[in-house]
């Protein structure tokens, strides 16, 4: 240790750091290891421990103690698993095949749910059961893609914004201007200009939300910026990417996960909205938004309303589960929150 930190200023800093660390449950040795690892040596988990348990173990424990998080986790897991496995199960129809009556050769339009078509057929004779699962896959894909790209960009910018002082003024000014534009408008306009399609829908939804995420992350980073472990890293000349990965990321991971989980339902609802205003995916690519929109046009006739109810039920289950799960996770990750 002595040979690594020669200068007196650094020494004083280390002492202050150690004093603070000694007050916390983490042992001195752990703190020392962490400190040395700023430049070399094995990577250690940051000492975020509370009374014996590690932070993540405690979070997990609190999370699974709640009945609602177990239920939503179970529902989501089985839904996603089934949606992925459904095409490979025996006796499934293709979601885009138009089914004809074997005797008359006519399309089996608007057939009520029965033994062969479990959820009935739509207005051109496609199997609604298969379409709903195909639509669930599409919508989940959109949700995950938006959650991934939006948060990846948001976190990266948020770290830079909060940590690098020179960038703060620029991004704050940019934010002040862009936050004035309603995100719905941005989403609509970019989809309209790029012409509707999978990629443009995902792009538009990322465009509309990344700055908000970045702002949220930035506020957390500001709180961490001048904590002593960051000061120490700066003094030792730790490269920026290392500070981001080893100092900032572990401390913000819980809110990043929260943002990720909450982005998924909002992106799925966003797809429904875009489809509704006529900027959705083409009809040959089933999505929950497409199915709901087609079903909505038929609600005037009472016997056809099943085509609206079933996709709505699946959509609502997915979005509610993600929302409840996200909030349960937030409570578990931040137990001091009232």
């Amino acid at each position: 240790m002595k040979k690594t930190f020669g200068k007196s200023k650094t020494k004083a800093l280390i002492e202050a750091f150690l004093e603070e660390e000694a007050a916390s449950p983490a042992s001195n040795e752990e703190a020392l290891k962490l400190f040395v690892s700023g430049r070399s040596g094995p990577e250690e988990e940051l000492p975020l421990s509370r009374a014996g348990d590690s932070y993540w173990r405690g979070t997990l424990k609190r999370l699974i103690k709640k009945p609602e998080s177990i239920i939503t986790l179970g529902v989501l897991f089985s839904l996603i698993l089934f949606a992925c496995l459904q095409p490979f199960l025996p006796g499934q129809r293709s979601p885009v095949t138009i089914n004809n009556d074997p005797v008359t050769g006519l399309q089996l339009m608007n057939r009520r749910p029965d033994a062969s078509f479990w959820l009935g057929t739509n207005n051109i004779g496609q199997d609604l059961w298969a379409r709903i699962w195909a639509g669930t896959r599409t919508s989940l894909l959109i949700g995950l893609a938006v959650a991934f790209f939006r948060n990846a960009l948001g976190v990266l910018v948020g770290f830079a914004w909060g940590y690098i002082r020179r960038l703060d003024a620029f991004f704050t000014e940019l934010y002040n201007i862009l936050e004035n534009i309603p995100s719905m408008i941005l989403m609509m306009l970019s989809t309209y200009i790029l012409r509707p399609g999978m990629a443009s829908i995902i792009f538009s939804m990322c465009l509309a939300g990344w700055l908000g995420t970045a702002r949220f992350i930035r506020n957390q980073v500001i709180l961490l910026r001048n904590r002593q472990f960051n000061q120490a890293s700066r003094t030792m000349g730790t490269p920026l990417h290392r500070i981001f990965l080893k100092n900032l990321l572990p401390h913000t991971l819980s809110i990043i996960i929260l943002q990720f989980v909450l982005t998924i339902p909002s992106a799925i609802s966003g797809e429904v909205f875009l489809t509704y205003i006529g900027l959705g995916l083409p009809a040959d690519r089933p999505s929950l938004g497409n199915l709901i929109n087609t079903g909505r046009m038929l609600i005037m006739s009472r016997s056809l309303r099943y085509q609206f109810y079933y996709p709505c039920a699946v959509l609502s289950i997915i979005t509610v589960c993600f929302y409840v799960l996200g909030n349960a996770f937030a409570d578990a990750a931040d137990p001091q929150d009232p």
């Binding site: 936050e179 309603p182 719905m184 306009l189 339902p265 900027l279 609600i299 609206f308 709505c312 409840v324």
Partner: protein, 316 residues
């Protein structure tokens, strides 16, 4: 007083800058559209026809010239002419027909959602963890988690099946306004309730409440006279924007009940690919949003002196 004026002036400048920037961005983005979208049948049009049509629309000029022309027209109060929706009709005139309809529904819905939301929030905060709080939380979770497209349609179906209300809006039947207005007030009421509850709970833990209690004030008068008044300060920031936004109408509700307002118009012109109309409506929405936020900040600064006293808004 001087500081307040300086603050407003600074904020006004930022708003103007923002309006200009948005206009330029939206205009330039719209020019990215392929020219095919300006024609009903592009494949059959001859080269001369294409040239003439583009000339007529002013699209052959270089971009800065087009932009300059557009902005100077905008400053004269002209939004251009519709391409397809009503060919050759001035956009401003079409909007002037639609905005009052949207504002009528939006303001009535606001009159319903604002008192209901704030009352609900107050009751939720006063008995934290009680029955009302739990029911209210369930309501807020429902509104935030379930897509609006779903529950609006269910409300429409329930209202028409069980209450015998008209399934579509008819100007001659006043009762056909009930369903759209009630549906429109559901999401904002949840928002108002959530914020009121949160701000009330934040205020409840402060020292002045403790002191008021020590003085022997009843918990009701503390809640109404002290906590609520302070809790409404942050809410006042959202209010001007919410009121202005009623002009833009609700996209879902207006198309579900076929109300001839702004929201329904937007869907129609997107389906018809009327580029000039889309551009004007998008700009209109953006302008409302920007002006609403400006008024909200002014409102907040007027009701909370701490904000205008700071030379630069302290934000963390």
């Amino acid at each position: 007083m001087f500081r307040a004026i300086a603050y407003i002036a600074r904020r006004l400048l930022r708003m103007l800058l923002c309006l200009m920037l948005v206009t330029v961005i939206v205009f330039c983005l719209m020019r990215l559209l392929p020219i095919e979208t300006y024609f009903k049948d592009f494949d059959r049009a001859t080269e001369l026809q294409i040239h003439n049509r583009l000339e007529e629309l002013g699209l052959n000029a270089p971009l800065p010239v087009q932009l300059w022309r557009y902005i100077s027209e905008l400053l004269h109060g002209s939004l251009g002419r519709s391409d397809i929706y009503r060919e050759g009709h001035p956009v401003a005139k079409i909007l002037a027909e639609k905005i009052p309809v949207s504002a009528h529904f939006g303001l009535l819905a606001l009159c319903l959602s604002l008192p209901f939301g704030i009352l609900l929030g107050v009751f939720m905060a006063r008995r934290k963890g009680g029955l009302i709080d739990k029911l209210g939380t369930a309501y807020i979770v429902f509104v935030q988690a379930v897509p609006a497209a779903v529950y609006f349609v269910f409300l429409q179906l329930c209202g028409s099946d069980y209450l015998g209300l008209s399934i579509l809006y008819r100007p001659s039947v006043p009762s056909s306004q009930i369903l759209p207005i009630v549906s429109m007030s559901i999401p904002p009421a949840a928002g108002f309730a959530m914020w009121t509850r949160r701000f009330m709970l934040d205020e409840t833990n402060k020292d002045y409440v403790l002191q008021a209690r020590a003085k022997g004030l009843s918990s009701r008068s503390i809640a109404v006279r002290h906590i609520l008044r302070n809790a409404l300060v942050p809410l006042s920031q959202q209010l001007p924007g919410t009121i202005l936004m009623t002009l833009s109408g609700s996209i879902y509700i207006e198309s579900l009940y076929s109300i001839p307002g702004m929201g329904g118009l937007l869907i129609e012109v997107i389906r018809m690919q009327d580029n000039t109309m889309v551009q004007s409506i998008v700009l209109f929405y953006a302008f409302i949003g920007i002006v609403g936020m400006f008024l909200g900040d002014i409102c907040l600064a007027l009701s909370d002196p701490r904000i205008r006293r700071a030379p630069k808004a302290v934000d963390l």
